[in-house]
Symmetry: D2
């Protein structure tokens, strides 16, 4: 599924052209149209449909390779490609928490890319691996990014996540119709750890996680696309609600400054209606690349609470990786 989102997201991209598709032996040699049914809305893009799928081996592959591999196989294959000189921009979870592999949200921690120097040196790689976070982490960290100036100390976040986050076939309909599943395997740990890494610093080419405690409650709901996060945050500077609303609305990052092709003009958009954001009505706006925040209000337990919503398969997966690659290109890393 994420692979198909990559294909769709890269259609008409001004910098990158889809020329190579790697897959398991079983699919290699087939045209994409024959290798796998198209699961997204509409039809398979015809330019991609005629590409012949290759085996997932480095030879013949281009310099920039997006990885949407299943975590069970990604580790070795991604390393093999990086060793062979490829720039792996990976959506897989395998390498995210490794001590020399950047976990990037371009608006938040572009400076983490500097750790690639150490990654290449220590591992003897000519290529590199850069990762993007889990889909629910992206939504939370984008909403938190404007608040870092206030000193984030503690976060309690409850998610309501779309079924598309589980891929295909993913969540059985018997489990989710008219229901909530209050558990997503390993998701809470990922949200907690990844958030600390992304919002953290880099010192001497080493990551220093944010010294804030994070607690996640992850739930699956009957939504197709769009993860919603209800969060309470403790902030050392004790800003007012209106100060928080203001910094959210004004937040911009390096992708906006550099006008990267997939960068949304406003990465975090504040919605003032009392019942927004909503996944079906908001997540796909701005090409699915912005995160929407609403209901900023005082929290009786921590300081501020709010609701955030983002598109899990675009900003939370394929679009996140493409924006990472654009950032890397703008840094000269793909040359």
């Amino acid at each position: 599924m994420v692979g198909q989102h990559f294909i769709r997201f890269l259609q008409g991209h001004p910098w990158f052209k889809l020329i190579w598709l790697g897959a398991s032996d079983r699919s290699a040699g087939k045209k994409l149209r024959d290798a796998a049914p198209w699961r997204l809305d509409g039809d398979m893009p015809t330019t991609a449909a005629d590409l012949v799928v290759s085996e997932s081996k480095p030879h013949n592959a281009p310099r920039l390779v997006f990885s949407a591999m299943d975590a069970s196989v990604a580790t070795e294959i991604e390393r093999e490609f990086a060793q062979a000189g490829h720039c792996i921009v990976s959506n897989s979870r395998n390498h995210r928490m490794e001590s020399d592999i950047p976990l990037i949200v371009p608006e938040i921690n572009p400076g983490h890319l500097t750790v690639i120097r150490r990654q290449q040196k220590d591992r003897g790689w000519k290529g590199m691996i850069v990762t993007n976070p889990n889909c629910s982490t992206v939504t939370l960290t984008m909403a938190l990014a404007p608040l870092t100036r206030f000193g984030i100390q503690r976060i309690v976040a409850a998610t309501m996540q779309a079924v598309s986050g589980a891929g295909y076939p993913g969540v059985p309909s018997m489990d989710i119709l008219a229901n909530v599943i209050p558990f997503i395997g390993a998701e809470e740990e990922k949200m907690q750890q990844e958030t600390q890494k992304i919002l953290g610093a880099v010192e001497d080419d080493h990551f220093v996680p944010l010294d804030a405690r994070v607690s996640a409650h992850c739930n699956r709901v009957a939504v197709v696309d769009g993860h919603t996060v209800a969060a309470s945050v403790e902030l050392s500077a004790k800003p007012s609600v209106s100060e928080v609303e203001e910094v959210i609305g004004k937040f911009r990052g390096l992708p906006q400054e550099r006008k990267l092709p997939s960068a949304p003009p406003r990465p975090v958009i504040y919605l003032s209606q009392q019942d927004r954001p909503q996944p079906r009505r908001d997540a796909a706006r701005e090409n699915g690349m912005s995160v929407f925040v609403g209901r900023v209000r005082e929290c009786p337990v921590l300081d501020i609470k709010f609701v955030a919503c983002g598109h899990n398969t675009i900003r939370g997966a394929a679009g996140a990786a493409v924006l990472n690659a654009e950032l890397m290109a703008s840094e000269g890393l793909l040359d």
Copy 2:
């Protein structure tokens, strides 16, 4: 809708018999079957269908009256009945937070009924008003009740609430299909205040709210029946996860001790499966009168987190009121 749930819940009740239905002038004089379409599953119970609806006036009404009136009209009418000697067991929100009106969950705070003495004396009533909490509050407080021994200090709770909580027609399908609505009018305030009152004490016939901070995030999801609550709790005694699981499983209250007709044998049931409780699979079990708790685990921010689920129109409304009335009957208050 709540009225219809009362009718259904009272079918075959061993202590109470439905003999009188009060409604607005518009419906008065009609048989119930002609006064309003039946919105619940199945058919309107035939014994109720032939009852003639009366005007909502005290004369002719029985001693015990359940109120499911809309908050916009409930205040005056409920007082008028109490003045005239009726025992009003109300599901309406109007009187819940008043300083001399008990807000009861029979397993948790049956002792709050003693304030009725002061209520009757100060207001000069021969009757009385007793209320039950908002549907989401019941689920949260039932799950918290076994934890009070550990000293509850802070609670952050995010709800995923069923559409039946909004009555009929209630939530438009355009708003909720494949969507989440992260807002329910006044719900967060109700959960926060009611929780403190219910878990609080009574001193000299006055309520003393629990001195704990409560923060609620209330969300509507595409579920028919059953509210789910993801909660983090700070506990002064710092119990272990297994200690928490144990007290939840062992929790019993006065309704269980007295074997009140609608009391579930186990008011709070601990589910050990990692993905439970779930509203569609669990809320209606035990006649909808138990609250189900699962996923007790350590919270990196507060101390313990868990998931709770309860049936919002039964334990959260009609069943709650009937159990209140049973408790009152067992105290001799309805004689």
Copy 3:
């Protein structure tokens, strides 16, 4: 899933007791509680949970065996059991259309059981195989049964089928949330052929299908339980709408006459409300064993049109098979 429905449906059965569970080698030797997660609402019945699963071999199995095997393996195993003297009451599709195997809906064609004589003689079996129809066929044929007196000539039926009909994991949620899938593999052919066999006659121990043309349009919708069928029927006797409503309401069959334990008092129930039957509100009534019919009206193309709704995993699967077994027991076939 159907196996689990059998387990639940047989709880407390007055004639049959669950004493033996057969499954694949992989599960054999385990207690049921360890062999498979419980997918239905609530908890696994404790009496069944402790049963040790056996290999699917005839030795040790009781005389009466319900089969919910996957069609891919059912053919050979069911025959092996019948050969060894077991009475196989099967929900699998494999043997339904064979020329000497009864396809029974007890209210409609109990007389088809006589073909068992020929089945046993021709195949040299001491046991027997009896089948029940596909879940959508049951709903349609039950609704049509009262109309056979009017001479059914042509039927066009469009279904809206619940996801539980596809088992577990079954329909991916990505396919069905806020969607319709206008295709269910082989379902239309099954509905068309099975309907003709069930509504047909038996002559000299041979089935004579009903000489009526049947066209089915099968669709999957976002419903948990309950198949809905919108049907138009051509009837040679040209009855009026009220005549059709009347015969539907009065319809009774042999299970009602013999008061079989699982027989609903009224197998087909006519609902007069203009927007009924509805799967979520009606399918589970009457223990899920009745079929509900509404909206009988004139059809501008054929003669009469109506809506029918039945519970697909009860009346359409487990309950259907148990009622078949009760009918067989009442005929002395299980002695």
Copy 4:
């Protein structure tokens, strides 16, 4: 809701510019942003948001007026505007079946516009009223249009309609979550009559309905946008399945020939996958202006059966009316 769809659909229209909004007295004088909350995805278009709403009176209104009025008030107001010289392109049902008012699907019956001559003459109008069909009728008639060459004799059609067809608040979520409602008020009659009128001829400025019998079964399902229709058709020429597939794929109409701005290049698109079309995956493609057809196969009762799907609020409402207006403009009727 349809009004909001008009506003969105007209954004950036090359021929028409939104300059006037008429509404009830209650809203008149307010800016649109203050007059009504925006119910569609995303935000209210800013150009429309600042328009001041006028009273629904002819003076000041432009020549071309789109009407999305509720049927309860549309009749008199639309006539008043037509009398005063306005061209009313109406989505309301009121005038659709009148004997001198065209009911237009531009690809099917553009010639019906000639009846306007008689309409203006008989009624003494300087303006005119032109209507578009009910949303379910559009999907059915577009799918049938290519088949008219084969001689349509009988049609049985079962719909599965999206909740957006009922407007806002429209269908209560309690009615449709995990459910089917097999009834939509007056919908079946509309589909039956409108189909005959649209597929009919014009002789001497009078409509001659198609002499084909039509039977509709209308159902509401838990879909947001997109009506699905399962249809069986009797065709006098007895074409093969492949002939039917071919004419569907090749179908083009006058809007395509004239390249009207809102005309989809292929008004009816044949999908060859066995499980398509599907409302969530297909209805919004081609700007929501094409109708998708799949599963053409032999019908055992009539001749051919198929599935059609179209976007009910675009091709079935706002887009239909705008395309009508474009057709009228291309005929010089708006000059």
